[in-house]
């Protein structure tokens, strides 16, 4: 493999505490190294910003729900297609891009790792086929467990060991990465025409509460010692007053300590926090609950969060929170799609327009920015748009602009039709903080990598780590003349390396790299009861056999990278 040296760039690396010093980054055989030979290819990064490749902790970029969005929204591709050029295959889609466009767009912005946030286990084969067809970036997928019949039956009797054995089996069968929960119990209740809007609403038939599911899965996660923590989309998403449900959910993590060998410190990751930080009793008195939620998270170090920034675009919402999508369709009257996934989960899809002329959308925008600006530790708060729910991931450069520039935020506030309402219902106007490049590297690299248990591998530039490197046309020594320059710089990298291969040069794709599928292979003690239960459920209830269920072999996972976990001594 070739050698590279990225010379004279301003390096920002929280893993080594480097805050913009001029340093050379050396790459050899896919890894960051101390030194390279004089024959190494030189990349001139003078007056540029150098960071590790960015890590996406939560996006919906592969699988049946995403594809349903593509199928039922041909208008999303209208006027957004790019023909074949250079290395790139044709692509299309604004909020739900094709797999190829997804890989190219992430890479051009300097992202080298991304997590698909909700894999329906029954459709893991579809998820992996799309991951396979998404070039360049390493990807993992989180199977959803929060409405799974096995999980609810075991946890009803607090059978942690059986829950853990089942989780280990499912992670292996689906080549999954982490334990994801979406509206625990609520999506199963939706099958009965109901929902769980608080953590104490019982799930019909199963006679268990969301609180029991959440606590039980934290315990199972720590029993196994997985790289990532339990990753949750709580109950009651998107409703005025939902911040109380969020706080109730976060409090369930109290007293739990992590136990893992991956350097992870949290036991719960709260996703798209913006959608869970609403105060008020209706859409008229709707206001921000960002302060209440971030106050709690700031004090409780065993929690990490991501933001879920609203980007003020036309987009496509999609979630395993089936009842929420039905509710949303009742609000905006646009088309609605719903899928039931047998014993496991469900999903809904509804297009949505976050209009700057609608006060609720403008307030959501402000809440999404308040959260990272109020979070004291950027290592525990990561930038996402819950792509495509709050906006497409291709808007990250714009979100970065708003976070780094008070001037850019003020300009947007002034452009809102209901500016006064945004200022009275949120505190966005009084937040002067501007995120530094070092903090940005924490929020988009070192932080999410650590939360995912990948800190030894990516998110930093320490020798020995994977050579995932992004070089931006941004000179930190020069004052920013126009905040739009920030957006431009973070939209298209000068150079990107993925595992030591240069994949982007001057904003263009120059290689499709060596894409890997990350998954977690956990070994547990033999558990004949769980194996018997799995067999029985397939015979009695599933519409397919167990042999057709697993995502196996080269076709589905051509280039796997397994994180091995030994839980046999647990």
């Amino acid at each position: 493999m070739s050698e590279y040296i990225i010379k004279n760039g301003h390096v920002f690396d929280p893993v080594q505490g480097i805050k913009g010093d001029k340093k050379d980054i050396s790459i050899k055989d896919g890894k960051i190294v101390d030194k390279v030979s004089s024959s190494a290819k030189v990349i001139d990064a003078k007056d540029k910003t150098v960071m590790a490749g960015a890590v996406e902790i939560h996006a919906h970029i592969a699988g049946p729900k995403v594809n349903l969005g593509r199928i039922y929204r041909p208008e999303d591709k209208l006027f957004s297609c790019t023909p074949t050029h250079g290395m790139e295959r044709m692509g299309g889609g604004a909020s739900i891009p094709t797999t190829f466009k997804t890989g190219y767009e992430y890479a051009k912005m300097g992202y080298t790792t991304a997590m698909e946030a909700a894999m329906p286990p029954l459709f893991s084969r579809h998820v992996h086929e799309e991951i396979r067809d998404t070039p360049i970036i390493d990807e993992g997928a989180f199977p959803v467990f929060g409405n799974n019949w096995f999980v609810m039956e075991y946890l009803k009797n607090h059978e942690i060991e059986n829950t853990a054995a089942y989780c280990a089996w499912l992670l292996r069968a689906t080549k999954g990465y982490a334990i994801k929960i979406v509206n625990p119990g609520g999506t199963e209740a939706w099958g009965w025409g109901l929902n769980c809007l608080s953590i104490h609403d019982p799930v019909p038939y199963f006679d268990i509460t969301p609180a029991e599911i959440i606590k039980g899965l934290i315990e199972a996660n720590e029993y196994l010692g997985l790289p990532h923590s339990m990753h949750i989309h709580p109950n009651n998403l998107g409703n005025p007053g939902c911040y109380e449900t969020t706080l109730d959910t976060l409090k369930l993590a109290e007293g739990f300590k992590t136990k893992n060998k991956f350097g992870r410190e949290q036991v719960m990751h709260l996703t798209h926090t913006q959608f869970h930080s609403y105060k008020g009793t209706n859409w008229g008195d709707f206001e921000s609950g960002a302060k209440e939620v971030t106050d709690y998270v700031n004090k409780n170090k065993n929690i990490t969060i991501d933001t879920g920034n609203v980007t003020l675009d036309e987009t496509t919402t999609m979630t395993a929170d089936g009842p929420f999508e039905h509710h949303l369709c009742g609000l905006n009257h646009l088309k609605w799609a719903n899928v039931d996934v047998e014993l496991e989960t469900a999903a809904g899809v509804v297009p949505y327009i976050y209009s700057p002329n609608i006060s609720v959308c403008a307030i959501q925008w402000a809440i999404g920015l308040e959260i990272p600006l109020m979070m004291k530790d950027p290592m525990r708060c990561y930038i996402t748009t819950d792509h495509p729910n709050a906006g497409p991931f291709t808007r990250y450069p714009r979100v970065i602009k708003w976070l780094m520039s008070k001037k850019a935020r003020d300009a947007q506030v002034n452009a809102f039709k209901h500016k006064d309402k945004v200022l009275s219902q949120t505190s966005i106007g009084s937040l002067d903080r501007e995120i530094s490049l070092y903090e940005l590297a924490q929020m988009t690299r070192a932080g999410p990598a650590k939360s995912l248990g990948l800190s030894a591998m990516c998110g930093g530039l320490k020798p020995g780590m994977d050579a995932d490197v992004a070089v931006y046309n941004f000179n930190p020594d020069k004052p920013v003349a126009n905040p739009d320059d920030i957006e431009t710089a973070f939209s298209r990298c000068a150079a990107v390396f993925k595992s030591g291969i240069q994949v982007v040069s001057n904003g263009e794709i120059v290689s499709t790299g060596n894409k890997r599928t990350l998954w977690v292979d956990v070994h547990v003690k033999d558990n004949p009861q769980v194996m018997r239960d799995i067999n029985e459920k397939f015979v009695k209830f599933y519409s397919m056999t167990q042999n057709n269920y697993e995502a196996l072999g080269h076709h589905f996972v051509p280039n796997p990278y397994a994180l091995e976990v030994d839980a046999t001594q647990a």
Binding site: Y72, R73, P74, E75, L334, K335
Partner: protein, 266 residues
């Protein structure tokens, strides 16, 4: 106003996508520059000049530019695509997407036009002396934003699914229409001087349909309310008034529930 005449000389073997034939794309260009504008035949991109003889220079702006299209353009799509001003005259019959996404200006099609004309039209005027195809003034596939402004006049007949998801503007058809008219409409107006088939106004929640001739089968979701005398295009007549589609949600305006209105001449 300057006139540019383009005449089909070398007919394409496949269908030709001529989305640059609009006063907006021509404005400020000489005949030679216009001939260099791109067109697509299948997956091959070439120039307008390969197929058309171009005579005359365009005006400085779209509003100062008139385009006359001559010759056999039955296999040409997208004439007047996204135009905002100026004039376009198509002397013969043509294919899909005439005046699609147009915002202003005037198109006169002297022959017949095929489907998806005036897709999501926002303004301007489209006059068709012959027949129009299906999905006239409708939303793009999957989209919920159909024709929102402007005026369409069809002297002959129109096809099925016209005005789907219409929210504003007016469509007048002097002849007959096929099935599905103003499906999902939330505004706008359709006048049919001839006959309509079935599924008129299905899932309509607002807007107006006036039919002078017969309707094969009424939608069950429309409810007769009264008789009304209307003046349409200077002619007075008596109509049965129906509201609907009763199976759909309906908004309130000034405390009153708003319905789609369907008038059928008695």
């Amino acid at each position: 106003m300057e006139t540019v005449t383009i005449t089909m000389k070398n007919a394409p073997a496949l269908y030709l996508e001529a989305d640059n034939v609009s006063p907006d794309a021509f404005a400020g260009k000489t005949a030679a520059q216009i001939a260099e504008l791109s067109v697509h035949e299948g997956n091959t991109t070439s120039t307008l000049g390969k197929y058309f003889e171009v005579i005359g220079n365009a005006g400085a702006t779209a509003a100062d530019t008139k385009i006359v299209v001559k010759g056999d353009v039955k296999k040409v799509k997208y004439l007047g695509f996204k135009m905002t001003a100026g004039e376009l005259v198509i002397e013969g019959s043509t294919d899909l997407y005439v005046g699609a996404w147009m915002k202003g200006g005037k198109i006169l099609a002297k022959g017949n036009i095929e489907a998806f004309a005036a897709t999501a039209m926002k303004g301007g005027e489209l006059i068709v002396e012959g027949n129009a195809g299906n999905y006239l003034g409708a939303a793009y596939r999957g989209d919920w934003r159909g024709m929102s402004g402007g005026k369409i006049l069809v002297m002959g007949n129109a096809g099925s699914d016209i005005g789907m998801y219409m929210t504003g503007g007016e469509i007048i058809v002097n002849g007959n229409i096929d099935v599905h008219a103003l499906t999902h409409a939330e505004g706008g107006r359709l006048v049919v001087k001839g006959n309509a088939k079935s599924k008129v106004g299905g899932q309509m929640i607002d807007g107006e349909i006036i039919i002078f001739g017969s309707i094969d089968t009424m939608m069950p979701g429309f409810k007769p309310v009264s008789e009304a005398e209307l003046e349409v295009d200077g002619a007075k007549a008596k109509f049965s008034h129906f509201i609907g589609d009763m199976g759909e949600r309906h908004k309130k305006r000034k405390g009153q529930i708003v319905y789609g209105n369907l008038y059928k001449k008695i």
